[in-house]
């Protein structure tokens, strides 16, 4: 069985590669957090498969040699605190050398704790405060339409992040303008900084909420590369409607001691924990 619980015979070479790359993102992010003694391990790990499929699975129409290519797809990491995983996938996709990951959070580094589009190629928006990404993605989707172009806007949000009202303001705009070139991906790992989301502010019924706001909603396993690929390859879910993909994930996914534990929201791995993570993930990071 593979990690999505599906029969091994269904695993294609591409899926196998994506699984390896996602685990590489995980270990890379944990290594960065270990070195900086600061980071957001849990959310990095829950989002790694989504990032791998978008950037390395051929979904986003982007060109690392032309980061400002006008008709590129826009991906906005609204959960900007998960920058270590994001930087790792950008480096793996070729936006900058992997060796630059060593500078994460160092003085004067281009790799700030939260992404800065003016410093690092591949970053579309400066995020960090929550609830900023979706309004920006809505604006980008509107721009594509105004210009008569066909590029798309993707935004990855956290789930606790949806407690920010600005998301729902933007959701209304997405519905009103029938933005079917917009895809919201919710990293539904069910844990926010202080506690489980449902203990903090109930998010459920989350899918129904998005549907009520006019989105075509799909729920899937956010660690199932085949399911993510299939879904992203077939957008929009419903013509005329913005898409919301609720990716059910596990915070800390792939590293057993970090899985599903609120303390790992911004837990920092020790050297020993990093070694244990590497053994579990079965990858090597050589930057």
């Amino acid at each position: 069985m593979n990690d999505s619980g599906k029969d091994e015979t269904l695993v294609t070479p591409q899926i196998d590669t994506l699984r390896y790359q996602a685990n590489w993102i995980r270990l890379s992010a944990m290594t960065m957090t270990h070195r900086a003694r600061l980071g957001h391990t849990g959310g990095d790990l829950s989002a790694s498969d989504i990032l791998a499929v978008l950037y390395l699975g051929g979904i986003l129409n982007i060109d690392p040699t032309r980061p400002q290519w006008p008709i590129r797809d826009r991906f906005i990491l609204s959960k900007g605190h998960c920058s270590a995983a994001f930087y790792s996938v950008l480096a793996k996709r070729g936006f900058f050398p992997e060796s630059q990951l060593r500078t994460h959070m160092e003085p004067l580094s281009m790799l700030n704790g939260h992404p800065d589009r003016n410093k690092l190629p591949g970053v579309e928006a400066n995020t960090g405060p929550l609830g900023h990404g979706l309004p920006i993605a809505v604006g980008a989707a509107l721009a594509s339409r105004m210009r008569g172009e066909s590029w798309r806007a993707f935004v990855l949000t956290g789930d606790g992040e949806l407690q920010e009202g600005s998301n729902w303001e933007a959701a209304m705009t997405a519905q009103h303008y029938n933005l079917d070139n917009l895809t919201v991906i919710v990293d539904r790992n069910r844990i926010q900084q202080g506690d489980f989301t449902e203990n903090t502010q109930r998010m459920e019924p989350l899918a129904e909420r998005w549907r009520a706001f006019g989105f075509a909603v799909v729920e899937l396993d956010g660690h199932d590369h085949a399911a993510l690929l299939e879904r992203f390859d077939n957008l929009p879910v419903e013509p005329g409607k913005p898409t919301c993909i609720i990716a059910n994930t596990i915070k800390g996914k792939g590293v057993s001691f970090a899985e599903n534990k609120p303390a790992w929201h911004h837990g920092v791995p020790t050297r020993e924990q990093l070694d244990a993570a590497q053994a579990e993930l079965g990858v090597e990071v050589n930057w």
């Binding site: 309004p135 604006g139 339409r145």
Partner: protein, 324 residues
Amino acid sequence: MSNSTLTGAAQAAAQPKLYDCRIAYAQTLEAMAAGDARVCAVINDSLSSANLKNFKALYPQRFVNVGIAEQNMVGVGCGLANGGMVPYVCGAACFLTGRAMEQVKVDLAYSKSNVRLCGMSPGMAYGQLGPTHHSIEDQAWTRILPNMAVIVPCDPIETAAVMRYSLEHQGPMYLRIARMPVPQLLPADYKYQFGKAVVMREGNDVTIATNGVLVCRALEAADRLAARGIQARVLNISTLKPLDTEAILDAARTTRGIVSAEEGLAAGGLGGAIAEVLALHHPAPMRILGLPDVFAPTGNIEFLLNHFRLNADGMEAAALELVQ
């Protein structure tokens, strides 16, 4: 001096026809949209207060109404700019800045987004509606943000000129668009120069530095001072940021002090910006006119300007203190 000199401005103000600057702003925006497909507008339900009914009719595909949702409005502007458009994000100044301040900071200033915020009816233009609708903090809030340009035009001519300039500007801008009617003070061929104070009237005894709807009142004060034999220089600091430090320092060196006057809180805004320059480079006597540490009482805009002595009387009296 590096500033353009405009003679006869006070005479032009003597028997004034009054103009709502929102008309010049909207007409200029429509003309810009005709010539540049990147120009678009975003509003928060403020179709009439932002005076964009005509824009909507002319360019429905480039007009976005997000409803009453200022945080979203500013974020949408950021995304439009990322997508290659030049958005004019227009709403009542009090809500546009106050409600969306973090988006203004992060999505625009920190991100260096090419978004133009048009703060409509700033200061105490909403008069009797009260302090909830007054925007007396916006000059302070916006000018302290790195990368943010802050412009406060004084009349319809300057409003149109600033709008035309804004199309070529790189980076975010906050424009304060007056609702309170003002006379035309500048000639039709006026050329706005980014970052340059405009010398509305020459004088070497004392300086009055102001912007927006108070410029016409400063010219009136200068007329009265002239009748007393005191020649007041009137600086229109339409570009609050970046501040024309050269003009400020020249005024400090060549006149006996600077009266600043602003339609907003005395703390943190135009007077504060001038005081920062003087304190560091050339300490000089100052009077800072604006609202003291209070919210305004009930009253229409004329009443409130007089109440806080943000009028010719107040500026004249402050200038006299500096020269006597």
